[in-house]
Each structure stands twice: as C-alpha cells, then as structure tokens.
Amino acid sequence: MSPAAEPARAPASVEDRFEYVLRLGDTSLIAAQRLGALLGHGPALEEDLALGNIALDLLGQARLLLALAGRIEGRGRDEDALAFLRDAGQFRNMALAEQPDGDFAETIVRQCLLDAWRLETYESLAGSQDRELADIAEKALKECRYHWRFSAGWLVRLGDGTAESHARTCAALEKLWRFTDELLSADALDARMAVCGIGPAPALIRERWETRVSAALAEAKLERPAHRHYPWHGKRGVHTEHLGHLLAEMQFLPRAYPGVSW
C-alpha cells in the first residue's frame, strides 16, 4: 500500500519535488488564512476555540512544508519568501482551499472535503521515500485525524439538524463539490511522484476519500452532488478569482515595506 514498500526507483527532479511540496504547503497555508479570518466571528465561543486550533495546526504544517520546499529549491527562499512574495499564478494550492467562507455550512463543507483528502494523503505520505516529507506527514496526520473528526461531526449535525441547516448544507455542497475533482484527479506530476515513491498512488487516495466522504454524507442525510466539469487547476497555478484578493490582503505588509524584518 505505502509507496515506501517498493524498492528504490528513479529519483524525482528538484523541480518536481519543489512543486509537489508546494501543493501541500500552499493548500494548508491558504486554508489557515481562511480560518484565521473567522476567529472571533464563529457561531459560538467554543467553535472559535476549535477553529483557532485547526488554523494553528494548518499554519504549522504550511510552515514546515514551505521551509522544506525552500530547501529543496535551494535558492535561499524561506517560508516567508514563499508565502509573501509569490503572485497567485505561482501558488499551487487546491482551488477548494481558497474558496471564501459564506456561511458556516460553506466553511464546514470546505473543511470536510479537504480534511478527508489531507488525512488520506498524509496517511500515505507517512511512508514516503522522502524522509523529510514523511516526518512532516506523520506529525500532520495526528492533527488531520482531529480535523476530520471535527468537520465530519459538524457536517452530520448540520445535515441532520434543522430544515434550515440541511438546506444550507446542501447549497454549500452544491457550490463546492465541483472543486473536489482537482483533489482526486492525478495530473502528470502526481503520477511521477507516485512512480518514484514520494507521493501516494492517486487511485488509492480517490478510493479512500470516496469511502470516507460517502459515509459522512450518508450519516448527515445529504445527497452526493452530481459530477461537474472543472476548469480550475489550482495545483498548476490556475486559480479562481478569490486567491488574488486573499493574497493582496495577506501579503500587503512585506510588499509595502520590502526588505525589512518584522
């Protein structure tokens, strides 16, 4: 099952490894940026505390991954240079992560779909041939298990709560489902990373994600939305309009005052 179980294969190129780690790091960073903005505005004080913990976990993952990406690239860019000094087209996060928080149902659906993907991905990456990546994945995995527990728990409460919460959650699913294909459809880079034993086998992630998410949807009494064509490839730098605004806000200080430390 785990990619590490196979004997050593042709090593991945620096460019591939850099891009691949950016996909993971950027997805965590953008998700943390979204959740961080909610702090103090949650539906209950207790949920502010929970969302804050998740945001901190994701930000911690992002920092480790971006620092690793910087080391792989070997051009002296640290976590902050990568986070604050790249434009949208150079970000490699899944487009789902950058989708804005409309109501709490959208937040929960977005988190849930991403959490399931992250959980399965890190579970596999814990056995990666890339030792540094495997170590990060192992640490992140514990956090991801809790994130899934939180978001899936809420998905069920909202789906099977009141008529209003059910309707809102259906609407959120309908709106965000089209971004899930990107998580699960392997492109050439995903395939190369799987072949060289760094990344997980894409078919495996899809299968496990489907099982996990279907079970949660069923418990939440929610219908699985129909498959939709998707024109976004966040992981290849083709984003929705939302990312530019998110970055404009996030990057403003280092951009307005270049070259100083904070």
Binding site: L39, H41, P43
Partner: protein
C-alpha cells in the same frame, strides 16, 4: 483581561439577623477564606461579582476583534501563528470567565444578551482602532501589560471560581505581553518607517492604556466596598502608578517617546509623575462615543445572529439523537 471602573452597589441596610450573617461573611473574607458558589453571600456581593466577571469576560471577547483585525495581514508566518494563538487565548479566557460567572447562578446566554443590547460594559480600550501592525505590538505591550497589573491581584480575590480563573488566565497570558514587546523591539530597531509606525502607535495607545485602570480614586465611589470584599485588592491609582513606573523605562529602551510632556521622575517618591488624564475622553468612550464602539458591538451581534441557525441545528440534532436512544431503550 480587562476590568475597569467598577460600580458596586452599596449593601442595603439590613435587619439584625441579616446583619449577623453579613458579619460572619465579612469575617470569613477578613480571614482570607475563599467564598465558593453555594456559600451564603450578600446579594450585593453576588451582583457586584456577576457584573465584574461578566464585564471582564465581555472584554476578552470584544478584545478578540481589534487584534483579530490583523490576523490576515500579519507580516510573517511566525507572527501570524502567534497572533492566532493569542486571539484564541482571549476567547478561552472569555470562556473561563463566563464559566466563573455562571457559578453565581446566571446563564452565559443572559450575559451575552446584555452585551449585545448594549447594556453591559466592557473595557473601553477595545473601542480604539488597530490602524497599523505596530498597534498589535503596542496592544501586547501596553494593553496586556496594564491587564496583567490588574489581574495578578485578582488571583487572590475572595470568590474562589473567579480567583481560579484568574490564576489560569495569568499563567497563559504571560506570553502575550512579551510577544507585543518583541514586535516593538523589531520595529524600533527596523527602518525609519517602522520606527515611525511604532512611535505613532505608542502615541495613540498610551493615554487609553492609562485609562484602563478606571477613574481616579477620588472619583471612584465604590472602590472601598470592593476592597473590603477583596474583589479588588488595590485602588485604580495604585495600579496605574505601578504600570507607569514599569512601562516608562521599557519605552526608553525602545527609544520611543511617551506622549506626555509633563512626565518626569520624582526622586523623593521614587515614582514617575504624569500629566493630567483627559477623563472627558474616557467618559465619552464609555458612553458609546469611542472610535469603534459601534463596529465592535455590530461585529459581535453579526456573529451571534449568523450563528443562531448553527446553534439551533446542533441542538436539534442532539435532541433527535437522544430521542432515538430513548426509543431504542424502550423498544
């Protein structure tokens, strides 16, 4: 944290058996015994505590907003992590305090409702805007610094649940002030623009921080009763003086100017002497005319309203689950 300007009602004149209980109660307090939730206590003590703890809790919750304003714009990932952790801590502290208030027989929902209709007070400091990143440093340094001055004595307050909440809060808050000062150190040692940013923030936050300790002792009517009950352990002016004495050298180390032309060191008393505080500003902000009073309450109301269907959904789901568990048992 952030208590200020308490208005304790006077204890009502009591009949003799009531007076005896009051005396026994006061004797327990004088002997430094803690009062616990189900113990007999004078109604005025209970009401004063509810108001003080609620005000303190509201301040933590409203206090999440001005700093939360910069989470999305924190200039490094490390700073962003620290700021999220700090704002989240404030939410936690609000929870600890609401918990303490609830032991006095009032529901959190009631207290929050009073905040949302504008009937409850919270620390006025949070009605000032955070305009630059330096404000985040200044809030940690000055506002949390002032808060700690206020809070440490409250760890010994006579009401057990409040004192225990304060112990936990003080322990957790020890990093808040340091991270603020660290931001100021970085800015003060940075570019000319960063230094100007730091000075501007100090200019705007200095006086409001001094006002956090509440009106001068000569104008604070109810301090005496709260001191007798050990709900309050030092007067407003004592704490303010302590804060100034501690903070002025810290500003000097940063190379920043405290915006008080009359500030001077008094050799004979061993304290700084400060210029007059503009209490009309304090009262205006308290009455609702601060720069951000409306925005802060509007944000709390919006979160409460937007969250209602979520809270209802969770309650409805729990009820359905409980009902099906009952059915399963009956069947």
């Amino acid at each position: 944290m952030y208590t200020q300007a308490l208005d304790a009602p006077q204890p009502p004149s009591a009949p003799t058996d009531e007076r005896e209980r009051l005396e026994r109660f006061q004797a327990r307090i004088d002997a430094d015994e803690k009062i616990e939730p189900k113990d007999w206590m004078p109604e005025a003590y209970r009401q004063t505590l509810i108001r003080q703890i609620a005000q303190h809790a509201h301040s933590e919750i409203v206090g999440m907003l001005p700093e939360g304003n910069w989470i999305t714009r924190a200039p490094s990932l490390r700073r962003k992590s620290v700021l999220i952790a700090k704002v989240q801590d404030e939410g936690g502290h609000g929870m600890y305090l609401y918990s303490a208030a609830e032991t006095l027989g009032v529901a959190r929902g009631e207290l929050v409702a009073q905040l949302l209709i504008g009937r409850a007070k919270y620390s006025s400091i949070f009605n000032y805007p955070t305009l630059t990143w330096a404000d985040i440093g200044t809030i940690g340094w000055l506002v949390d610094g002032a808060a700690i001055m206020n809070q440490i004595p409250l760890c010994r307050c006579s009401y057990g649940p409040y004192a225990r909440a304060m112990v936990r809060i003080c322990k957790e808050e020890s990093f808040h002030q340091r991270q603020g000062y660290e931001i100021m150190l970085t800015l003060a040692g940075g570019s000319a623009e960063q230094r100007a940013m730091a000075q501007d923030a100090l200019n705007r936050w200095w006086w409001p921080s001094l006002m956090m300790f509440g009106p001068s002792d000569t104008d604070s009517k109810h301090t005496a009763q709260s001191m007798r009950w050990k709900i309050k352990r030092f007067t407003n002016d004592e704490l303010r003086q302590r804060f100034i004495d501690a903070t002025v050298p810290q500003a000097e180390y940063l190379g920043l100017m405290v915006p008080d032309p009359e500030l001077r060191w008094d050799e004979t008393t061993g304290h700084y002497v400060h210029g007059p505080i503009d209490w009309s500003e304090f009262h205006a902000v308290l009455k609702g005319d601060g720069p951000c009073n409306r925005e802060r309450l509007a944000a709390r109301r919006a979160a409460h309203e937007a969250g209602r269907w979520v809270r209802e959904a969770a309650a409805a789901y729990a009820e359905k689950q409980a009902a099906s568990a009952r059915d399963a048992q009956a069947g």
